[in-house]
Symmetry: C2
Subunit: 225 residues, 2 copies
DNA sequence: AGACACAGTGTACGATAGACACAGTTCGAC
DNA sequence: GTCGAACTGTGTCTATCGTACACTGTGTCT
């Protein structure tokens, strides 16, 4: 069994032998709880098994290995996308879609880090793509460009979530202050930018600013076609 | 010694005792070579030490731990940003900056994955920020917005690099085909988008499309101020 | 000259992912 | 109804990895 089969396979039919005490969903949920509470590093086969009251090796009856478990956790944590039918127009739809994705990922910040590197797209993730592509249906873009728009929005969300995952904003600022202390003359523009943004510029403002610039850019592109 | 000191500290002055046979730079370079050749997973203290002809534990005389070594590798691999002085105007500068960053990261795809999660900004990384912020100097944006623009561009580059890091484009397509095979009716828009983009839409086109949309969006925003 | 600080080594430990053999359990075929 | 095959969870074992610690040798400062 590989990742594709695990994520996409049919739920197993009636089989011989003792009934499994668990389901793959149980594993995913246990892993997600652990990751939410203590971070991705706390997710070990041992601890997932403990949480479910079985031995470490029993988990290998459900998933081929840890990587596959994490892939499952990611897709489960993402969940199904919200419906966008009640919104009118591609732009409000894409904006709501991006903000919804932000909320989901913010709830499970570890999922961004877990999806670094090559991986297989899960059913939920592909459904998110499907919904977004439906929103841009009919626009004067070819398929590649439509996907590029989705990728741009996703990148923005992922980056912002990652940036403030475990680091609180104050911690980041504090680190930068430490670094810039005594070295400010080498980075005058950084110092100036930090100074003139101290008041406002929360994380959410950064996200919406970026998203709105991208959407503006797409709108402009469409109007020029 | 912590990460900040390692990345930002002065090169050690004259000290007592035997001369170190290595430098932190040697460690970083050895790690980078390993990661370039065999991926980030191949970077173990053992193998870095082997490559340098010392024992595993000797490396701990130079770096406090593996995380710090990786942070050092990332900043070293990124290198100093190119000068943008010969370019005129914020837009060509930011575009060149983004493409330069893309090239650097593409040369060391593992660095994107290595920078997932909370980490300390290194000197080279901060210099990239400084150069980009200098490019948007004088624009009608506050410091936070300037940083938001940089973040948006960086996100775009990082995402695209990550997407095609170890996966070749063909491999990605093949995986999607496998998944969509027999499940296409559940994802009609995904199928349609893939079909109408089969011909063109290389990775680089995706990158420049996204970058140009963001820059368009910023330009529009400025013109509306 | 001698003390001290520091470099590299060797050994050891705990955590981790995972292989494998085994005992008990349930279903299907006869 | 019985028996065998398939399957589940367990226990044991191994390889790998990061890192702590004690030790030996070396070069510099007093």
């Amino acid at each position: 069994m590989d990742v594709i089969e695990l994520l996409w396979g049919e739920p197993a039919g009636p089989r011989r032998g003792p009934r499994p005490t668990l389901t793959v969903g149980d594993l995913a949920r246990a892993g997600i709880e652990l990751a939410d509470a203590e971070g991705l590093a706390a997710v070990t086969m041992q601890r997932v098994a403990e949480a479910l009251g079985v031995t470490k090796m029993a988990t290998y009856r459900y998933v081929p290995g840890k990587d596959e478990l994490v892939a499952l956790m990611v897709d489960t944590a993402l969940g199904a996308p919200p419906p966008l039918d009640d919104l009118d127009g591609w732009r409000p739809k894409l904006r709501a879609w991006s903000l919804a994705m932000n909320e989901r990922m913010q709830a499970h910040p570890w999922s961004v880090r877990a999806t670094a590197g090559p991986r297989v797209t899960g059913p939920n993730e592909l459904t998110w793509a499907e919904v977004a592509l439906a929103a841009v249906d009919g626009l004067a873009l070819d398929g590649g460009q439509k996907m590029d728009v989705i990728v741009a929005l996703t990148s923005q969300v992922r980056s912002l979530v990652e940036q403030t995952a475990d680091n609180s904003e104050e911690r980041i600022s504090a680190t930068w202050m430490t670094i810039l202390d005594g070295r400010g003359e080498r980075f005058p523009h950084v110092v100036a930018a930090l100074a003139s943004s101290a008041r406002h510029s929360s994380r959410d403002q950064g996200l919406t600013f970026g998203l709105d610039r991208i959407l503006d850019g797409v709108e402009l592109y469409l109007s020029r076609q």
